[in-house]
Protein backbone atom coordinates (compact mmCIF):
# COMPACT_ATOMS: atom_id res chain seq x y z
CA UNK A 1 0.00 0.00 0.00
CA UNK A 2 1.19 3.55 -0.76
CA UNK A 3 3.16 5.40 1.90
CA UNK A 4 1.73 8.44 3.66
CA UNK A 5 4.10 10.65 1.69
CA UNK A 6 2.92 9.10 -1.60
CA UNK A 7 -0.74 9.47 -0.58
CA UNK A 8 -0.27 13.13 0.29
CA UNK A 9 1.60 13.78 -2.98
CA UNK A 10 -1.12 12.06 -4.98
CA UNK A 11 -3.97 13.89 -3.22
CA UNK A 12 -2.26 17.28 -3.47
CA UNK A 13 -1.70 16.78 -7.19
CA UNK A 14 -5.28 15.62 -7.69
CA UNK A 15 -4.05 12.29 -9.09
CA UNK A 16 -5.46 10.55 -6.02
CA UNK A 17 -8.80 11.15 -4.32
CA UNK A 18 -8.78 11.37 -0.52
CA UNK A 19 -12.20 9.73 -0.44
CA UNK A 20 -10.84 6.68 -2.31
CA UNK A 21 -7.91 6.47 0.12
CA UNK A 22 -10.32 6.54 3.05
CA UNK A 23 -12.62 3.93 1.49
CA UNK A 24 -9.66 1.60 0.90
CA UNK A 25 -8.67 1.86 4.55
CA UNK A 26 -12.28 1.48 5.75
CA UNK A 27 -12.49 -1.68 3.65
CA UNK A 28 -9.37 -3.09 5.30
CA UNK A 29 -10.83 -2.19 8.69
CA UNK A 30 -14.06 -3.94 7.70
CA UNK A 31 -12.10 -7.12 6.96
CA UNK A 32 -9.77 -7.44 9.93
CA UNK A 33 -10.88 -5.07 12.71
CA UNK A 34 -13.32 -7.60 14.20
CA UNK A 35 -10.43 -9.96 15.03
CA UNK A 36 -7.80 -7.27 15.80
CA UNK A 37 -9.89 -4.75 17.81
CA UNK A 38 -7.44 -1.89 17.25
CA UNK A 39 -10.13 0.78 17.63
CA UNK A 40 -12.38 2.01 20.40
CA UNK A 41 -14.12 4.02 17.70
CA UNK A 42 -13.93 3.99 13.90
CA UNK A 43 -14.90 7.49 12.72
CA UNK A 44 -16.38 6.36 9.42
CA UNK A 45 -18.64 9.35 8.75
CA UNK A 46 -16.24 12.02 9.97
CA UNK A 47 -13.40 10.46 7.95
CA UNK A 48 -15.50 10.38 4.78
CA UNK A 49 -16.61 13.97 5.33
CA UNK A 50 -13.12 15.38 5.90
CA UNK A 51 -11.75 13.41 2.94
CA UNK A 52 -14.47 14.90 0.74
CA UNK A 53 -13.67 18.43 1.92
CA UNK A 54 -9.97 17.84 1.20
CA UNK A 55 -10.78 16.71 -2.37
CA UNK A 56 -13.01 19.77 -2.73
CA UNK A 57 -10.19 22.04 -1.56
CA UNK A 58 -7.81 20.49 -4.10
CA UNK A 59 -10.43 20.80 -6.83
CA UNK A 60 -10.73 24.49 -5.90
CA UNK A 61 -6.98 24.88 -6.40
CA UNK A 62 -6.11 24.87 -2.68
CA UNK A 63 -3.41 22.90 -0.88
CA UNK A 64 -4.64 20.80 2.09
CA UNK A 65 -1.08 20.40 3.37
CA UNK A 66 1.72 17.84 3.76
CA UNK A 67 -0.56 15.08 5.06
CA UNK A 68 -3.33 15.68 2.51
CA UNK A 69 -5.78 12.80 2.68
CA UNK A 70 -3.55 10.64 4.88
CA UNK A 71 -5.69 8.43 7.17
CA UNK A 72 -4.39 8.58 10.74
CA UNK A 73 -5.32 6.59 13.85
CA UNK A 74 -5.26 8.47 17.19
CA UNK A 75 -4.66 6.80 20.51
CA UNK A 76 -7.85 7.24 22.52
CA UNK A 77 -6.15 9.42 25.14
CA UNK A 78 -5.99 12.44 22.81
CA UNK A 79 -8.90 14.89 23.04
CA UNK A 80 -11.06 15.20 19.92
CA UNK A 81 -13.85 17.78 20.12
CA UNK A 82 -17.27 16.12 20.23
CA UNK A 83 -15.79 12.65 19.65
CA UNK A 84 -15.69 10.18 22.55
CA UNK A 85 -12.26 10.02 24.22
CA UNK A 86 -12.09 7.28 26.82
CA UNK A 87 -8.51 6.30 27.72
CA UNK A 88 -10.03 2.79 27.49
CA UNK A 89 -11.47 3.39 30.95
CA UNK A 90 -15.00 2.94 32.29
CA UNK A 91 -14.56 6.17 34.22
CA UNK A 92 -14.47 8.18 30.96
CA UNK A 93 -16.72 5.94 28.85
CA UNK A 94 -18.78 8.13 26.51
CA UNK A 95 -17.08 11.39 27.49
CA UNK A 96 -16.93 13.85 24.58
CA UNK A 97 -14.21 16.50 25.04
CA UNK A 98 -15.43 20.06 24.38
CA UNK A 99 -12.03 20.89 22.86
CA UNK A 100 -9.32 19.54 20.53
CA UNK A 101 -5.80 18.56 21.51
CA UNK A 102 -3.16 20.77 19.85
CA UNK A 103 -1.96 17.84 17.73
CA UNK A 104 -5.51 17.32 16.43
CA UNK A 105 -5.60 20.94 15.28
CA UNK A 106 -2.18 20.59 13.63
CA UNK A 107 -3.21 17.38 11.87
CA UNK A 108 -6.34 19.04 10.49
CA UNK A 109 -4.28 21.99 9.25
CA UNK A 110 -1.97 19.51 7.47
CA UNK A 111 -4.85 17.77 5.70
CA UNK A 112 -4.71 14.49 7.65
CA UNK A 113 -7.92 12.45 7.99
CA UNK A 114 -8.57 11.05 11.48
CA UNK A 115 -10.03 7.58 10.86
CA UNK A 116 -10.51 6.43 14.44
CA UNK A 117 -9.59 6.39 18.12
CA UNK A 118 -7.43 3.43 19.07
CA UNK A 119 -7.40 1.08 22.03
CA UNK A 120 -4.84 1.32 24.84
CA UNK A 121 -4.05 -0.03 28.27
CA UNK A 122 -6.36 1.93 30.57
CA UNK A 123 -4.86 5.43 31.00
CA UNK A 124 -1.78 4.15 29.12
CA UNK A 125 -0.77 1.96 32.05
CA UNK A 126 0.50 -1.31 30.65
CA UNK A 127 2.65 -3.00 28.01
CA UNK A 128 0.19 -5.33 26.29
CA UNK A 129 -3.12 -3.46 25.82
CA UNK A 130 -4.63 -6.23 27.94
CA UNK A 131 -5.59 -3.61 30.54
CA UNK A 132 -8.23 -1.97 28.34
CA UNK A 133 -11.71 -1.80 29.88
CA UNK A 134 -13.02 -2.55 26.38
CA UNK A 135 -11.06 -5.73 25.73
CA UNK A 136 -7.54 -6.35 24.36
CA UNK A 137 -6.13 -5.58 20.93
CA UNK A 138 -4.58 -8.47 18.98
CA UNK A 139 -1.25 -8.45 17.19
CA UNK A 140 -1.82 -8.46 13.39
CA UNK A 141 1.22 -10.71 12.94
CA UNK A 142 -0.21 -13.36 15.29
CA UNK A 143 -3.62 -12.77 16.83
CA UNK A 144 -2.83 -15.11 19.74
CA UNK A 145 -0.27 -12.55 20.89
CA UNK A 146 -0.36 -9.06 22.32
CA UNK A 147 0.49 -5.99 20.21
CA UNK A 148 2.41 -4.51 23.14
CA UNK A 149 1.30 -1.37 24.88
CA UNK A 150 0.10 0.89 26.00
CA UNK A 151 -0.37 2.26 22.44
CA UNK A 152 -1.17 -1.24 21.12
CA UNK A 153 -4.22 -0.06 19.19
CA UNK A 154 -2.34 2.52 17.12
CA UNK A 155 0.56 0.14 16.49
CA UNK A 156 -1.79 -2.63 15.36
CA UNK A 157 -3.86 -0.21 13.25
CA UNK A 158 -0.77 0.90 11.30
CA UNK A 159 0.63 -2.65 11.04
CA UNK A 160 -2.73 -3.97 9.76
CA UNK A 161 -3.18 -1.16 7.22
CA UNK A 162 -6.22 0.29 9.00
CA UNK A 163 -4.48 3.65 8.89
CA UNK A 164 -1.51 4.98 6.97
CA UNK A 165 0.04 6.42 10.13
CA UNK A 166 -0.88 6.70 13.81
CA UNK A 167 -0.15 8.58 16.97
CA UNK A 168 0.61 7.13 20.36
CA UNK A 169 1.89 8.43 23.67
CA UNK A 170 5.06 7.14 25.29
CA UNK A 171 5.55 7.45 29.05
CA UNK A 172 7.86 4.48 29.60
CA UNK A 173 7.97 2.86 26.17
CA UNK A 174 4.31 2.90 25.18
CA UNK A 175 5.13 3.81 21.55
CA UNK A 176 8.46 2.05 21.04
CA UNK A 177 7.59 -1.32 22.58
CA UNK A 178 4.31 -1.88 20.65
CA UNK A 179 6.02 -0.59 17.50
CA UNK A 180 8.64 -3.29 17.98
CA UNK A 181 6.07 -6.01 18.63
CA UNK A 182 3.93 -4.97 15.63
CA UNK A 183 6.82 -4.40 13.22
CA UNK A 184 6.29 -0.70 12.60
CA UNK A 185 8.34 2.47 13.20
CA UNK A 186 7.58 4.17 16.53
CA UNK A 187 9.08 7.41 17.82
CA UNK A 188 9.29 8.99 21.28
CA UNK A 189 10.61 12.53 20.65
CA UNK A 190 12.59 14.70 23.06
CA UNK A 191 10.37 15.71 25.99
CA UNK A 192 8.77 19.00 24.95
CA UNK A 193 9.12 18.39 21.19
CA UNK A 194 5.38 17.75 20.74
CA UNK A 195 2.67 19.61 22.67
CA UNK A 196 0.90 17.65 25.41
CA UNK A 197 -2.12 20.01 25.40
CA UNK A 198 -5.13 17.73 25.04
CA UNK A 199 -3.18 14.55 25.76
CA UNK A 200 -4.86 12.99 28.80
CA UNK A 201 -2.06 12.85 31.33
CA UNK A 202 -0.61 9.67 32.78
CA UNK A 203 2.71 11.03 34.09
CA UNK A 204 3.16 14.64 33.05
CA UNK A 205 6.96 14.82 33.24
CA UNK A 206 7.37 11.65 31.15
CA UNK A 207 4.51 11.70 28.61
CA UNK A 208 5.33 12.47 24.97
CA UNK A 209 3.22 12.05 21.84
CA UNK A 210 4.88 10.43 18.85
CA UNK A 211 4.27 8.78 15.47
CA UNK A 212 3.69 5.23 14.28
CA UNK A 213 4.43 4.63 10.61
CA UNK A 214 5.32 1.94 8.11
CA UNK A 215 8.45 3.82 7.13
CA UNK A 216 11.03 6.09 8.72
CA UNK A 217 10.20 8.75 6.13
CA UNK A 218 6.48 8.71 6.99
CA UNK A 219 7.35 8.95 10.70
CA UNK A 220 9.61 11.93 9.94
CA UNK A 221 6.90 13.65 7.89
CA UNK A 222 4.31 13.14 10.64
CA UNK A 223 6.66 14.37 13.37
CA UNK A 224 7.51 17.42 11.25
CA UNK A 225 3.78 18.22 11.25
CA UNK A 226 2.94 17.67 14.92
CA UNK A 227 6.19 18.94 16.41
CA UNK A 228 6.94 22.49 17.48
CA UNK A 229 6.27 25.02 20.21
CA UNK A 230 2.77 25.35 21.70
CA UNK A 231 1.99 28.29 24.02
CA UNK A 232 -0.72 26.13 25.62
CA UNK A 233 1.91 23.75 27.03
CA UNK A 234 4.36 25.39 29.46
CA UNK A 235 6.81 22.49 28.99
CA UNK A 236 6.81 22.78 25.20
CA UNK A 237 10.28 23.69 23.90
CA UNK A 238 10.21 27.19 22.33
CA UNK A 239 12.42 26.32 19.36
CA UNK A 240 12.05 25.77 15.63
CA UNK A 241 12.77 22.11 14.83
CA UNK A 242 14.71 21.28 11.64
CA UNK A 243 12.89 19.12 9.08
CA UNK A 244 13.45 15.44 9.88
CA UNK A 245 12.27 14.47 6.42
CA UNK A 246 15.25 16.36 5.02
CA UNK A 247 17.59 14.80 7.59
CA UNK A 248 17.01 11.16 6.69
CA UNK A 249 18.72 11.35 3.29
CA UNK A 250 22.04 12.31 4.85
CA UNK A 251 23.20 8.75 5.66
CA UNK A 252 25.37 7.74 8.60
CA UNK A 253 28.85 8.37 7.23
CA UNK A 254 30.95 9.28 10.29
CA UNK A 255 28.02 8.94 12.72
CA UNK A 256 29.20 7.62 16.10
CA UNK A 257 26.99 4.71 17.17
CA UNK A 258 27.29 3.75 20.84
CA UNK A 259 27.06 0.30 22.40
CA UNK A 260 26.08 0.40 26.09
CA UNK A 261 28.49 -2.15 27.54
CA UNK A 262 26.73 -2.34 30.90
CA UNK A 263 23.21 -2.66 29.50
CA UNK A 264 20.93 -4.72 31.79
CA UNK A 265 20.69 -8.40 30.76
CA UNK A 266 17.35 -10.02 30.10
CA UNK A 267 16.69 -9.68 26.39
CA UNK A 268 16.00 -12.92 24.50
CA UNK A 269 18.85 -14.26 22.30
CA UNK A 270 16.88 -13.75 19.08
CA UNK A 271 16.44 -10.08 19.96
CA UNK A 272 20.09 -9.58 20.99
CA UNK A 273 21.17 -11.20 17.73
CA UNK A 274 19.23 -8.69 15.66
CA UNK A 275 20.74 -5.78 17.64
CA UNK A 276 24.21 -7.16 16.84
CA UNK A 277 23.30 -7.28 13.16
CA UNK A 278 22.10 -3.67 13.47
CA UNK A 279 25.55 -2.58 14.70
CA UNK A 280 27.11 -4.43 11.72
CA UNK A 281 24.68 -2.78 9.32
CA UNK A 282 25.47 0.73 10.53
CA UNK A 283 29.21 0.01 10.51
CA UNK A 284 28.84 -1.21 6.93
CA UNK A 285 26.99 2.02 6.12
CA UNK A 286 29.95 4.09 7.31
CA UNK A 287 29.23 4.66 10.99
CA UNK A 288 31.80 4.10 13.70
CA UNK A 289 30.88 1.96 16.72
CA UNK A 290 31.98 3.16 20.17
CA UNK A 291 31.55 1.73 23.67
CA UNK A 292 29.80 3.77 26.35
CA UNK A 293 28.70 3.08 29.92
CA UNK A 294 25.40 3.99 31.57
CA UNK A 295 25.74 2.31 34.96
CA UNK A 296 22.46 3.72 36.31
CA UNK A 297 20.48 2.40 33.30
CA UNK A 298 19.43 -0.60 35.33
CA UNK A 299 17.91 1.60 38.07
CA UNK A 300 15.55 3.22 35.58
CA UNK A 301 12.81 0.70 36.26
CA UNK A 302 12.67 1.52 39.97
CA UNK A 303 12.86 5.28 39.45
CA UNK A 304 10.15 5.06 36.81
CA UNK A 305 7.76 2.92 38.85
CA UNK A 306 7.97 5.42 41.72
CA UNK A 307 7.82 8.65 39.69
CA UNK A 308 5.18 7.69 37.11
CA UNK A 309 2.64 6.33 39.61
CA UNK A 310 3.23 9.31 41.91
CA UNK A 311 2.37 11.77 39.14
CA UNK A 312 -0.47 9.51 37.99
CA UNK A 313 -2.02 9.36 41.46
CA UNK A 314 -2.37 13.15 41.28
CA UNK A 315 -3.31 13.35 37.58
CA UNK A 316 -6.09 10.79 38.00
CA UNK A 317 -7.54 12.36 41.16
CA UNK A 318 -9.73 14.58 38.96
CA UNK A 319 -11.88 11.58 38.03
CA UNK A 320 -14.15 12.15 41.01
CA UNK A 321 -17.64 11.94 39.52
CA UNK A 322 -18.33 15.66 39.95
CA UNK A 323 -17.86 17.36 36.55
CA UNK A 324 -17.73 14.61 33.90
CA UNK A 325 -17.44 10.88 33.42
CA UNK A 326 -18.77 8.12 35.64
CA UNK A 327 -20.52 8.73 38.95
CA UNK A 328 -21.74 5.98 41.26
CA UNK A 329 -24.22 7.57 43.65
CA UNK A 330 -23.74 7.51 47.40
CA UNK A 331 -25.16 9.24 50.49
CA UNK A 332 -22.47 11.90 50.56
CA UNK A 333 -19.77 13.28 48.28
CA UNK A 334 -16.88 11.65 50.09
CA UNK A 335 -18.53 8.25 49.83
CA UNK A 336 -19.38 8.96 46.19
CA UNK A 337 -15.68 9.51 45.44
CA UNK A 338 -14.72 6.12 46.84
CA UNK A 339 -17.34 4.02 45.09
CA UNK A 340 -17.08 5.93 41.80
CA UNK A 341 -13.32 5.52 41.57
CA UNK A 342 -13.47 1.90 42.72
CA UNK A 343 -16.01 1.12 39.99
CA UNK A 344 -14.44 3.27 37.28
CA UNK A 345 -10.78 2.24 37.42
CA UNK A 346 -9.34 -1.18 36.53
CA UNK A 347 -6.92 -3.17 38.68
CA UNK A 348 -3.66 -1.88 37.13
CA UNK A 349 -4.76 1.75 37.40
CA UNK A 350 -5.80 1.23 41.02
CA UNK A 351 -2.49 -0.46 41.73
CA UNK A 352 -0.50 2.47 40.36
CA UNK A 353 -2.67 5.06 42.13
CA UNK A 354 -2.03 3.17 45.36
CA UNK A 355 1.70 2.89 44.73
CA UNK A 356 1.96 6.56 43.75
CA UNK A 357 -0.14 7.82 46.64
CA UNK A 358 2.02 5.79 49.01
CA UNK A 359 5.28 7.03 47.46
CA UNK A 360 4.19 10.66 47.98
CA UNK A 361 2.59 10.32 51.39
CA UNK A 362 3.94 11.74 54.62
CA UNK A 363 6.84 9.77 55.99
CA UNK A 364 7.61 7.92 52.75
CA UNK A 365 8.30 10.77 50.30
CA UNK A 366 12.04 10.95 50.90
CA UNK A 367 12.54 7.18 50.89
CA UNK A 368 10.69 6.69 47.61
CA UNK A 369 9.67 9.65 45.42
CA UNK A 370 12.46 11.95 46.59
CA UNK A 371 15.09 9.26 46.07
CA UNK A 372 13.66 8.33 42.66
CA UNK A 373 14.07 11.95 41.49
CA UNK A 374 17.76 11.75 42.36
CA UNK A 375 18.17 8.50 40.46
CA UNK A 376 16.48 10.24 37.55
CA UNK A 377 19.14 12.95 37.60
CA UNK A 378 21.85 10.30 37.79
CA UNK A 379 20.49 8.54 34.70
CA UNK A 380 20.11 11.83 32.83
CA UNK A 381 23.67 12.92 33.58
CA UNK A 382 25.13 9.54 32.62
CA UNK A 383 23.32 9.67 29.26
CA UNK A 384 24.52 13.23 28.70
CA UNK A 385 28.08 11.96 29.22
CA UNK A 386 27.49 9.03 26.89
CA UNK A 387 26.25 11.41 24.18
CA UNK A 388 29.54 13.25 24.28
CA UNK A 389 31.11 10.10 22.80
CA UNK A 390 28.24 8.77 20.72
CA UNK A 391 25.65 10.45 18.48
CA UNK A 392 23.18 7.59 18.88
CA UNK A 393 22.92 4.43 20.97
CA UNK A 394 21.45 1.07 19.91
CA UNK A 395 19.56 -1.26 22.26
CA UNK A 396 16.68 -3.71 21.98
CA UNK A 397 13.33 -1.89 22.04
CA UNK A 398 11.71 -4.84 23.82
CA UNK A 399 13.35 -7.78 25.61
CA UNK A 400 11.27 -10.17 23.52
CA UNK A 401 9.07 -10.45 20.47
CA UNK A 402 5.29 -10.31 20.91
CA UNK A 403 4.19 -12.62 23.73
CA UNK A 404 0.93 -14.60 24.06
CA UNK A 405 -2.04 -13.18 25.97
CA UNK A 406 -1.81 -13.79 29.69
CA UNK A 407 1.87 -14.68 29.44
CA UNK A 408 2.78 -12.32 32.26
CA UNK A 409 -0.02 -13.71 34.43
CA UNK A 410 -1.08 -11.20 37.06
CA UNK A 411 2.50 -10.54 38.11
CA UNK A 412 2.85 -6.78 37.65
CA UNK A 413 6.64 -6.84 37.93
CA UNK A 414 7.01 -9.30 35.04
CA UNK A 415 4.96 -6.92 32.86
CA UNK A 416 6.94 -3.90 34.08
CA UNK A 417 10.17 -5.54 32.86
CA UNK A 418 8.91 -5.20 29.26
CA UNK A 419 9.93 -1.53 29.47
CA UNK A 420 13.40 -1.97 30.91
CA UNK A 421 15.11 -0.71 27.71
CA UNK A 422 12.69 2.10 26.90
CA UNK A 423 12.12 3.68 30.33
CA UNK A 424 15.46 5.51 30.72
CA UNK A 425 14.78 7.82 27.76
CA UNK A 426 11.53 8.96 29.36
CA UNK A 427 13.29 9.68 32.64
CA UNK A 428 16.10 11.61 30.92
CA UNK A 429 13.84 13.28 28.34
CA UNK A 430 16.02 12.13 25.45
CA UNK A 431 14.46 10.93 22.17
CA UNK A 432 14.25 7.30 21.17
CA UNK A 433 12.63 5.27 18.43
CA UNK A 434 12.04 1.67 17.47
CA UNK A 435 12.84 0.54 13.93
CA UNK A 436 11.66 -2.82 12.56
CA UNK A 437 14.81 -4.83 11.90
CA UNK A 438 13.94 -8.28 10.66
CA UNK A 439 12.37 -11.03 12.70
CA UNK A 440 13.17 -13.20 15.68
CA UNK A 441 11.48 -16.21 17.26
CA UNK A 442 8.44 -17.52 15.35
CA UNK A 443 9.23 -15.06 12.53
CA UNK A 444 7.83 -12.26 14.67
CA UNK A 445 9.10 -8.70 14.21
CA UNK A 446 12.03 -7.41 16.21
CA UNK A 447 12.52 -3.69 16.87
CA UNK A 448 15.90 -2.07 17.37
CA UNK A 449 15.83 1.01 19.58
CA UNK A 450 17.82 4.05 18.44
CA UNK A 451 18.46 6.54 21.25
CA UNK A 452 19.90 10.05 20.82
CA UNK A 453 20.70 13.22 22.78
CA UNK A 454 18.34 16.08 23.54
CA UNK A 455 16.88 17.45 20.27
CA UNK A 456 19.17 15.14 18.28
CA UNK A 457 16.19 13.74 16.37
CA UNK A 458 17.98 14.40 13.05
CA UNK A 459 20.87 12.03 13.91
CA UNK A 460 18.37 9.50 15.34
CA UNK A 461 16.35 9.51 12.14
CA UNK A 462 19.50 9.23 10.00
CA UNK A 463 20.48 6.06 11.88
CA UNK A 464 16.92 4.73 11.70
CA UNK A 465 16.75 5.33 7.95
CA UNK A 466 20.08 3.54 7.50
CA UNK A 467 18.75 0.50 9.40
CA UNK A 468 15.61 0.55 7.27
CA UNK A 469 17.70 0.53 4.07
CA UNK A 470 19.95 -2.20 5.49
CA UNK A 471 17.02 -4.59 5.91
CA UNK A 472 16.58 -4.54 2.15
CA UNK A 473 20.34 -4.80 1.62
CA UNK A 474 21.13 -8.22 3.03
CA UNK A 475 20.94 -7.42 6.74
CA UNK A 476 17.31 -8.49 6.94
CA UNK A 477 16.09 -11.95 7.92
Amino acid sequence: MASAIEIAAGVRSGALKAVDVVERHLATIGKREPEIHAFNLVMTDQARASAASIDALVAAGGDPGPLAGVPIALKDNMCTRGVPTTCSSKILAGWKPPYDATIVTKLAAAGAVVIGKTNLDEFAMGSSTENSAFGPTRNPHDTSRVPGGSSGGSAAAVAAGFASVGLGSDTGGSIRQPAALCGVVGVKPTYGYVSRYGLIAFASSLDQIGPFANSVADAAQLLDVIGGHDPMDSTSIPLEHPSLLDAIDHGVEGLRVGRITDLPEGADPDVNERVEVAFDALRAAGATIVDVQVPAFTFGLTAYYLIAPAEASSNLARYDGVRYGLRVDAEDTNAMYGVTRAAGFGDEVKRRIMLGTYALSAGYYDAYYGKALKVRRLIHDEFERAYQHADVLLTPASPSVAFPFGAKGDNPLAMYLCDVYTIPANLSGHPGMSVPFGTGADDLPVGVQVLAGTLCEPQMFRAAAALERAVTQGFGK
Binding site: I237, V322, T333, N334, R341, M354, L355, K371, L378
Partner: protein, 100 residues
Protein backbone atom coordinates in the same frame (compact mmCIF):
# COMPACT_ATOMS: atom_id res chain seq x y z
CA UNK B 1 13.30 0.88 52.91
CA UNK B 2 12.75 -1.01 56.16
CA UNK B 3 9.82 -3.27 57.08
CA UNK B 4 7.21 -4.60 54.66
CA UNK B 5 4.15 -2.46 54.10
CA UNK B 6 1.17 -3.46 56.26
CA UNK B 7 -2.48 -3.91 55.33
CA UNK B 8 -3.28 -1.05 57.72
CA UNK B 9 -1.06 1.35 55.80
CA UNK B 10 -2.51 0.13 52.50
CA UNK B 11 -6.02 0.74 53.83
CA UNK B 12 -5.04 4.26 54.89
CA UNK B 13 -3.51 4.95 51.46
CA UNK B 14 -6.72 3.69 49.81
CA UNK B 15 -8.73 6.18 51.88
CA UNK B 16 -6.32 8.96 50.92
CA UNK B 17 -6.72 8.00 47.23
CA UNK B 18 -10.52 7.72 47.57
CA UNK B 19 -10.55 4.11 46.34
CA UNK B 20 -13.07 1.84 48.10
CA UNK B 21 -11.11 -1.42 48.01
CA UNK B 22 -12.63 -4.70 49.21
CA UNK B 23 -10.80 -6.57 52.01
CA UNK B 24 -9.60 -9.00 49.33
CA UNK B 25 -8.26 -6.12 47.23
CA UNK B 26 -6.49 -4.68 50.28
CA UNK B 27 -4.90 -8.06 50.89
CA UNK B 28 -3.77 -8.52 47.29
CA UNK B 29 -2.56 -4.94 46.99
CA UNK B 30 -0.58 -5.28 50.21
CA UNK B 31 1.29 -8.31 48.85
CA UNK B 32 1.85 -6.74 45.43
CA UNK B 33 3.04 -3.39 46.81
CA UNK B 34 5.33 -5.19 49.25
CA UNK B 35 6.90 -7.24 46.43
CA UNK B 36 7.38 -4.13 44.28
CA UNK B 37 8.87 -2.06 47.09
CA UNK B 38 11.22 -4.91 47.83
CA UNK B 39 12.35 -4.90 44.19
CA UNK B 40 12.59 -1.08 44.26
CA UNK B 41 15.01 -1.29 47.19
CA UNK B 42 17.77 -1.74 44.60
CA UNK B 43 18.30 2.05 44.56
CA UNK B 44 19.05 2.08 48.29
CA UNK B 45 22.55 0.94 47.34
CA UNK B 46 23.18 4.19 45.42
CA UNK B 47 25.15 7.08 46.93
CA UNK B 48 22.77 10.02 46.25
CA UNK B 49 23.65 12.56 48.94
CA UNK B 50 25.02 15.16 46.55
CA UNK B 51 22.69 14.41 43.66
CA UNK B 52 20.07 17.10 42.98
CA UNK B 53 16.57 15.76 42.35
CA UNK B 54 15.35 16.07 38.75
CA UNK B 55 11.63 16.75 38.41
CA UNK B 56 11.56 17.75 34.73
CA UNK B 57 13.66 16.61 31.81
CA UNK B 58 14.04 19.83 29.83
CA UNK B 59 15.16 22.97 31.70
CA UNK B 60 12.82 25.89 31.04
CA UNK B 61 11.78 28.80 33.25
CA UNK B 62 9.60 31.94 33.18
CA UNK B 63 6.96 30.69 30.76
CA UNK B 64 3.98 33.07 30.75
CA UNK B 65 0.75 33.88 29.03
CA UNK B 66 -0.45 37.48 28.73
CA UNK B 67 -3.46 38.60 30.78
CA UNK B 68 -5.94 38.53 27.89
CA UNK B 69 -9.38 36.90 27.76
CA UNK B 70 -9.97 34.10 25.25
CA UNK B 71 -13.30 32.40 24.54
CA UNK B 72 -14.13 29.69 27.07
CA UNK B 73 -16.50 26.75 27.16
CA UNK B 74 -20.27 26.74 26.69
CA UNK B 75 -21.93 26.13 30.05
CA UNK B 76 -24.81 24.11 28.67
CA UNK B 77 -22.52 21.82 26.67
CA UNK B 78 -20.39 21.22 29.77
CA UNK B 79 -23.30 20.73 32.18
CA UNK B 80 -25.00 18.35 29.74
CA UNK B 81 -21.98 16.06 30.15
CA UNK B 82 -22.01 16.33 33.97
CA UNK B 83 -23.28 13.44 36.14
CA UNK B 84 -25.73 15.86 37.79
CA UNK B 85 -26.46 19.56 37.34
CA UNK B 86 -29.16 22.10 38.10
CA UNK B 87 -29.59 25.89 37.94
CA UNK B 88 -26.43 26.25 35.86
CA UNK B 89 -24.34 24.47 38.48
CA UNK B 90 -22.89 21.03 39.16
CA UNK B 91 -24.85 19.05 41.72
CA UNK B 92 -23.18 16.79 44.31
CA UNK B 93 -24.44 14.81 47.30
CA UNK B 94 -24.07 16.38 50.77
CA UNK B 95 -20.50 17.45 51.50
CA UNK B 96 -19.47 15.98 54.84
CA UNK B 97 -16.26 14.74 56.38
CA UNK B 98 -14.29 16.87 53.97
CA UNK B 99 -14.54 20.36 55.45
CA UNK B 100 -11.52 22.49 54.66
Amino acid sequence: MSERISAEVVAKVARLARLDLTPEEIERTTTQLADMLEHFADIDALQLDDVAPMAQPYPLDNVFREDVIAPGLDRDEVLAAAPAAEHGRFRVPPIIGLDL
